[in-house]
């Protein structure tokens, strides 16, 4: 039975059930199951899945870009709570999206199981007997031959076998029945089962994997323990014991920027040199990572995501003591690498000092735009920072971002006109702070790299799933199942041969195939008549 017929048959059963007055709970369940696993429901669920995926491309997603999402929420104070309730900031984890795909999966299982059974039974079945009246089929040819009936039948058998048909000859009836293309349904089942495999892969990855981010200044190091991460997203069943015990040092970083043209200022190439140990005590190995080339250690991957500048800044306090010295990570704000950052000097006396401001790799200035960076490379580096004094709030124990100042206990230093006092420095220079606070020196710059460390154990399973799905799909779409019958009869001393066929899939070129078969059967050039 054709699958769509199976489906229609189910549908008509369902319709009959619907008209029955009282359904027992069992019948009701059966009815619901049939509804859910019908082809029409699958179609509608697929549509809902497509539609449901749309909002995720319009509304920023927390899991994709938390900062953008937070900004969006701030900019839309009225919509944000409603959107939040609807799960629009994490569409792909939302209840309703999950409901759609879980229903689809149930429908899928409900679809695969009975079809596998039908397929299994059909596999060993013989091609069905020739219909009584072959000329009623749409593709039908008829010709005469000089062979006797038996020879004609044998020839039909041989020709069909050579074309890889499964063939049954029934001598009483004087007919041959043949069928091919069994693999199509297999491909279809393989495809649909593989979809489940992909989801299993995703689930495993989501549960046991993790993804973390860390910023490392060149010359600095990282060892793979929880405390070293700047941010860390574990899966539901992740345990810190799963962290591979490697460590590395970022030796250097290279970047080339496009110098001219429309895309001037784009990074053309960037890469970082690492020295690493797969485990403590193992020999040091060296590697370079770049955008398409991560480092892989123990199934854990280290990706180079982006980079930035870490100016070396020294703060001397009122007593001339060094209160802070070292590279400070500035986060890029735009494509020219104008970057923002803060420096905190809690040990400065007489008062704690905080600096907040910008770094320009290629400092430029116009009256209209104020200071800006003309190019992303460090051609003319400069910093411009405001100065804050008082209590940095570091001893309260509350966690504080290293990229911002908690200004509740701080006062901004003012210049004479009441405007903020600015520390404006090009590289290698020092500026004395007023009121005997000390001085700030811009000693030099390092670059830093932003790395992502991740492990997603289900990936291979998912990948195997999609690959199998593709294989199944190709079988399912390109294999053309068809049945062919040949009947031979004697009429007035002549042998008449009829050939007819039935295409079991859409889109096949059955007429052409029947023509080829007929050609092979009639090598004695008798005229062929037929209908199509």
């Amino acid at each position: 039975m054709g699958l769509d017929k199976l489906d229609e048959h189910k549908d008509s059963l369902d319709r009959r059930r619907e008209t029955a007055f009282a359904l027992t709970p069992r019948e009701l369940l059966r009815w619901m199951w049939r509804q859910l696993t019908s082809m029409r429901t699958a179609l509608i669920l697929l549509f809902m899945l497509a539609l449901g995926a749309v909002p995720g491309s319009v509304v920023p997603q927390e899991a994709v870009d938390a900062v953008r999402t937070a900004n969006w929420q701030q900019a839309h104070p009225h919509l944000a709570p409603i959107y939040g309730k609807l799960g629009l900031f994490s569409v792909y984890n939302s209840v309703w999206f999950s409901a759609i795909y879980i229903l689809l999966m149930i429908s899928l299982v409900g679809c695969i199981l009975p079809r596998t059974k039908v397929y299994w039974q059909g596999l060993r079945a013989k091609p069905p007997q020739a219909p009584k009246n072959l000329s009623r089929l749409r593709q039908h040819r008829e010709f005469e031959t000089d062979d006797d009936a038996q020879a004609a039948l044998t020839k039909a058998h041989d020709v069909l076998r050579s074309k890889r048909y499964r063939v049954v000859v029934s001598t009483d009836d004087g007919s041959v029945a043949a069928e091919r293309g069994y693999l199509r349904e297999f491909g279809n089942l393989l495809f649909h089962s593989s979809v489940l495999l992909v989801l299993a892969g995703f689930a495993i990855g989501g549960l046991f994997g993790y993804k973390g981010g860390v910023i490392v200044v060149t010359g600095g190091g990282f060892s793979n323990t929880l405390s070293q991460y700047d941010d860390f997203q574990p899966g539901g069943l992740f345990s810190p014991a799963n962290l591979a015990p490697f460590d590395f040092t970022v030796d250097n970083f290279d970047v080339t920027f496009i110098q001219s043209g429309r895309e001037a200022g784009m990074a053309h190439e960037f890469s970082a040199g690492l020295s690493y140990h797969t485990e403590p005590g193992t020999p040091t190995k060296k590697t370079r990572i770049s955008v398409n080339h991560p480092l892989t250690v123990d199934n854990t991957k280290v990706y180079l995501l982006s980079h930035g500048y870490a100016p070396h800044i020294t703060i001397r306090d009122g007593k001339g003591q060094i209160a802070y010295a070292g590279p400070v990570i500035f986060l890029p704000e735009d494509a020219t690498f104008r970057s923002t950052g803060v420096v905190k000097a809690p040990d400065a006396s007489p008062t704690q000092i905080g600096l907040e401001g910008e770094f320009f790799p290629t400092y430029a200035f116009t009256a209209a735009s104020g200071p800006f960076s003309a190019f992303p490379d460090d051609k003319n580096p400069a910093i411009s920072m405001t100065v804050w004094t008082g209590n940095l709030g570091l001893d309260t124990g509350a966690p504080q971002s290293v990229y911002s100042l908690d200004k509740s206990g701080l006062k901004e230093l003012k210049a004479s006109g009441g405007r903020p006092y600015l520390v404006n420095l090009s590289m290698g220079h020092t500026q004395k702070l007023p009121n005997g606070l000390g001085s700030v020196t811009f000693d030099g710059i390092s670059r830093y790299v932003k790395l992502q460390v991740s492990r997603s154990p289900g990936d291979l399973l998912a990948l195997a799933g999609v690959s199998l799905a593709l294989l199944g799909l190709i079988g399912s779409l390109y294999i053309r199942p068809r049945r062919v019958w040949v009947r031979v009869r004697r009429e007035g001393g002549r042998t008449l041969v009829e050939v007819a066929g039935l295409d079991r899939s859409s889109g096949g070129n059955l007429a052409g195939e029947i023509d080829v078969l007929t050609q092979a059967l009639t090598n004695d050039r008798h005229p062929v008549t037929g209908t199509q």
Partner: protein, 335 residues
């Protein structure tokens, strides 16, 4: 030849190619204008190949009665040949334009670095696919649609999307880019041709529903079943290719480039949506009550999502997508 020379050559070849396609379009339009005054006689029983392509309703010119009609159908056939020959010539220019675009970059690279190049290559795939299938499926009826579509698309490409040659960004420098993009362009081209069939199906269906059966272009289109079959064949070919491009090669490349297979980035979301819609299309053809008309509508929705993903996403969500070729920002760097 220097890289600059190649860039110039590419531009000139594309101009020559557009002019040639335009002439081809004129030839086909003239061909179908002649057809208006040519009555459709009883359909010739299709031969085996005709059923494959579905030319059941097209008149065999040698059977049209009357000398005048004979002459007209001869002229029709001639302009059809002229049109196709010009299209082949145009495709040669087109090919030169694409290849020299790649040679113009320093270092030499694949010509798929931005939307301008992607569109240029995509349209070439449409033309080549049409030419390759022309004989086998008797695609005469598709000629004006293909040439018209390609000219308009190339015009948009040159006017709005033109970008001078620049090297590829880091994230785009990977052989997975080549695999991923080749598959995506191939699928896009085939889906587009399938969409043309589906659109013609819907147009012809409406036209038949109004009870019209006279002369002209629509009358000479293959019958509905053949249009449906043509649409199915091309889209069923494109679907696995798209599956490979969007769900296998794409994620592998993303994994290399950004450390995750799948990140629900707008471009990925819409690639997924396209995939699901075409899966729905394949289902609909096997579902009672959804065959034919509804299936054609779903196919066109699929095509719309595909093109929206390609053009719309870059403009509407430009900076939000890591894949934004069009946005001149360093998205990749800033993430």
């Amino acid at each position: 030849m220097s890289h600059d020379h190649f860039e110039l050559l590419s531009n000139q070849a594309l101009a020559a190619c557009a002019v040639t396609y335009f002439l081809a379009l004129l030839a086909h339009l003239y061909q179908w204008a002649i057809a208006r005054s040519l009555p459709i006689t009883a359909s010739v029983p299709a031969t085996a190949t005709a059923t494959a392509g579905g030319t059941d309703t097209i008149v065999r010119t040698d059977q049209a009665p009357g000398e005048q009609l004979d002459e007209k159908s001869d002229r029709m056939a001639m302009f059809s040949r002229i049109g196709v020959t010009l299209t082949v010539l145009g495709a040669c220019f087109h090919f030169v334009a694409v290849v020299s675009r790649g040679l113009a970059a320093d270092p030499v690279r694949v010509p798929w670095g931005n939307m301008y190049e992607f569109t240029m290559t995509g349209t070439l795939v449409v033309v080549v696919a049409y030419l390759a299938l022309y004989r086998r499926y008797s695609l005469d009826w598709l000629s004006p649609v293909v040439t018209g579509f390609v000219i308009i698309t190339l015009m948009v490409d040159v006017l709005f999307l033109y970008t001078p040659v620049v090297p590829l960004r880091d994230a785009l420098q990977s052989y997975w880019l080549i695999i991923h993009v080749v598959a995506a362009i191939l699928a896009t081209g085939m889906f587009t041709i399938g969409g043309m069939s589906s659109a013609l199906y819907l147009i012809k269906e409406r036209w038949l529903a109004k009870g019209k059966t006279s002369t002209g272009y629509l009358a000479r289109l293959p019958d509905l079943a053949a249009l449906d079959r043509m649409a199915y064949r091309t889209q069923a070919f494109a679907f696995p290719v798209w599956t490979f491009a969007a769900l296998i090669a794409g994620p592998i490349w993303a994994q290399h480039a950004w450390g995750r297979y799948w990140g629900w980035d707008p471009k990925e979301i819409w690639a997924f949506i396209t995939w699901v819609v075409y899966a729905a299309y394949l289902h609909s053809r096997a579902t009672a009550g959804w065959k034919g008309r509804n299936a054609a509508v779903i196919a066109l929705i699929g095509l719309a999502t595909l093109w929206f993903n390609f053009i719309g996403i870059n403009f509407f969500f430009g900076s939000g997508s890591m894949h934004s070729y069009a946005a001149p920002v360093l998205t990749v760097l800033l993430h």
